[in-house]
């Protein structure tokens, strides 16, 4: 047993021991054993499904037989015949990237046009008006890039046709593009002495037909069984048993008293959109409240299922990488690094939220049979602290962006966890496809650093990593940094942008920072509290989303194309192994150091400062 294996065993033992310790000592930190048991069970389920999902995807994209071939292969052939695609044609990385860009560009224009004319299209029982140009552009960019940043509430703006043919279509298409790019990157690593990475159209079609559609069909039926609605009915109007008196401030600033006697209950085809929202790590809710809405996320089981859906494909892709590169242990080493970062994040978020607000310390904030305890502002009682902290961590580890609680209402440190998760590049399992090709960038940097330390040319699975690969990796990292910090820097000093802030001081900075981190990271979750349906935010977040998506994918595909050309060299005594605990540790360190060097100053002026001021008795 070499030192790498020993270290991997030690890491596994530490992770297991940590979970056991957390379970036993939970009460001391105001957390609960029940909460830790659910978090631990969630990670075990992800571990169990990683291999079967990964094997299935490896078979699909390697052209091996699968159980679905008898049904899907004829459909696939018809699609190719109708669209004139030659499935045998293999593409260089430049052709692959160009096809991906053209597909995304045309799809974006189509969504924009649907939004702009929805008033005259069918399936609009609520007679919603056309979407304004700025919001339509922002939404089109958002859904094309798998971000699903929403500056609107779906139930009060989008027709059923827009939700289904526009938004849900993009949930499938953008996720399929992500998977296709990840598979192309894996082929680049696995293949040698070729410049071909596969066929973008074939990979996208197979992602849709074999992976996303069957899983969504079954998943949506399960969600319907839990109470998620699925209909095309007009909204229901219910008479209130007890009429409510409310104060309403009009456009002229005058406040009047109104008595509300009716409630409008939104309907719609929710289940079919809900399942791909999570499986495709899209995150755009049918309703404005997203997964906090009882029609989107009605039960604790539905909540657990949604979190599993978010991690299912990204976790499986780590095994797909290992299988297709004939190094399963490399896939598991990446999985272990991701699991470590996931546990670090969820622990911090759970601890910060469970301990509550220190300024309310005279009040009992412990969880009991009659109260959830901790900081319950912005959280659903039916999910409690543990499942809110877990959901927030999962949705930002992946580039999902669905929420079941308001991140803006988390404590400063609890809210910093989602922020950091996205800043790290959403490589902790990550987005569908995006998580894998994102972490490959860090793998390149990690083996490069390891090579520098021992004074040898770095190697990655037998391929020498040279200057071009590292340059492209740095381009991929820098585009996110420049986009996030650049737009945030403009926004924090311009009155038209700061006018959208609802809280002053460091919390306001966090709101703006989160908006651009979420956009460039293609996450799409909102911190909340920031009014973003303005021309500035609609266009600047759209620009951040487009740059963060496509200007990162292009250098990653360039790396894949360059790696595919290379010969493999046999491992020697100087080869840095990418299969053990040492590699996993170096990978985690690289991710954390790059993230910290880039974003620590911004974090220190936002959530860290807010935490210190809260300890001193000042809140925002």
């Amino acid at each position: 047993m070499n030192i790498g294996n020993i270290l991997l065993l030690v890491i596994c033992a530490l992770l297991g021991g940590y979970l056991l310790y957390a379970l036993l000592k939970a009460e001391e930190f105001k957390m609960t054993a029940n909460g830790w048991a659910q978090i631990g069970f969630f990670l075990v389920v992800i571990l169990v499904i990683t291999k079967p999902v990964g094997v299935f995807m490896a078979r699909v994209f390697s052209g091996e037989k699968t159980v679905l071939d008898a049904v899907l292969r004829p459909i696939e052939r018809i699609i190719y015949r109708l669209t004139g695609i030659d499935e045998k044609h293999e593409m260089r990385w430049t052709e692959y990237a160009t096809a991906m860009l053209l597909f995304s560009g045309v799809s974006m224009v189509l969504l924009y046009m649907i939004e702009r004319v929805q008033k005259w299209l069918p399936l609009n029982p609520q007679k919603f008006a056309n979407i304004d140009p700025g919001l339509a552009f922002g939404t089109a960019a958002s859904f094309t890039t798998n971000t699903n940043w929403q500056a609107y509430s779906g139930e009060s703006a989008m027709s059923y046709l827009t939700q289904m043919a526009g938004l849900a279509y993009h949930n499938f298409a953008s996720a399929a593009v992500g998977i296709a790019v990840a598979i192309a990157v894996i082929r680049g690593i696995a293949r040698k002495e070729t410049d071909k990475l596969g066929n973008f159209w074939v990979d996208t079609t197979r992602s849709l037909l074999w992976v996303l559609l069957p899983a969504c069909l079954i998943g949506s039926l399960f969600l319907v069984s839990q109470g998620v609605i699925q209909n095309l009915k007009p909204y229901t109007t219910a008479e209130l048993i007890e009429p409510q008196t409310v104060q309403v401030t009009g456009a002229d600033g005058k406040t009047t008293t109104q008595t509300v006697t009716q409630q409008v209950i939104a309907q719609g085809p929710v289940a079919s959109q809900e399942v791909i929202k999570e499986l495709g790590t899209n995150g755009g809710g049918f309703f404005g409240a997203n997964s906090a809405h009882p029609f989107e996320n009605p039960t604790p089981l539905a909540n657990f299922f949604q979190m599993v859906l978010i991690f299912a494909i990204p976790a499986g892709l780590t095994y797909t990488l290992g299988r297709m590169t004939k190094s399963p242990r490399h896939g598991w080493a990446i999985w272990a690094a991701m699991a470590f970062l996931f546990l670090a994040g969820v622990t911090t978020a759970y601890w910060a939220e469970a301990r509550g607000n220190p300024l309310l310390s005279p009040a009992d904030q412990r969880a009991t049979s009659t109260q959830s305890g901790g900081n319950m502002e912005g959280k659903e009682t039916r999910f409690g602290i543990a499942n809110s902290a877990l959901f927030a961590t999962v949705t930002t580890d992946a580039s999902c962006g669905a929420i079941n609680s308001q991140h803006d209402s988390f404590t400063p440190l609890g809210g910093m966890v989602p922020l950091i998760n996205i800043m790290l590049g959403e490589v902790v399992f990550g987005g569908v496809g995006a998580g894998l090709y994102g972490i490959i960038v860090f793998v390149i940097l990690a083996v490069f650093i390891a090579g520098l330390m021992v004074g040898r040319t770095p190697e990655y699975l037998g391929k020498k990593i040279e200057s071009y690969d590292v340059k492209m990796a740095m381009l991929a990292v820098l585009i996110l940094t420049v986009t996030i910090l650049g737009f945030a820097a403009i926004a924090v000093v311009q009155p038209f942008a700061t006018a959208g802030i609802s809280n002053p001081g460091p919390h306001g900075l966090s709101q703006i920072l989160y908006a651009y981190v979420s956009s460039a990271g293609n996450n799409g979750s909102a911190f909340g509290g920031l009014s973003v349906n303005t021309m500035w935010y609609n266009t600047s977040t759209a620009a951040a989303q487009l740059l963060g998506r496509f200007f990162m994918i292009i250098p990653v595909l360039a790396i894949a194309g360059n790696l595919a050309k290379k010969k493999t060299v046999p491992a020697s005594a100087g080869t840095f192994p990418v299969t053990g605990g040492l590699f996993a540790g170096l990978l985690v360190s690289t991710i954390v150091i790059v993230g910290a060097l880039t974003f620590f100053p911004a974090l220190s002026l936002g959530p860290i400062l807010e935490h210190l001021l809260m300890q001193a008795g000042k809140i925002f």
Partner: protein, 36 residues
């Protein structure tokens, strides 16, 4: 009017992205030992 502006901006962005592809490719052609 705004529709035309946004459609043109979209087309310009994706054209720029295709140029970026070409730029990355050219950088690769100039790289020493990129076929090793």
């Amino acid at each position: 009017m705004m529709d035309i502006i946004f459609l043109v901006v979209t087309a310009l962005f994706f054209s720029l992205a295709i140029l970026y592809v070409r730029g990355c490719e050219r950088l690769g052609k100039g790289a020493k030992g990129s076929k090793s």
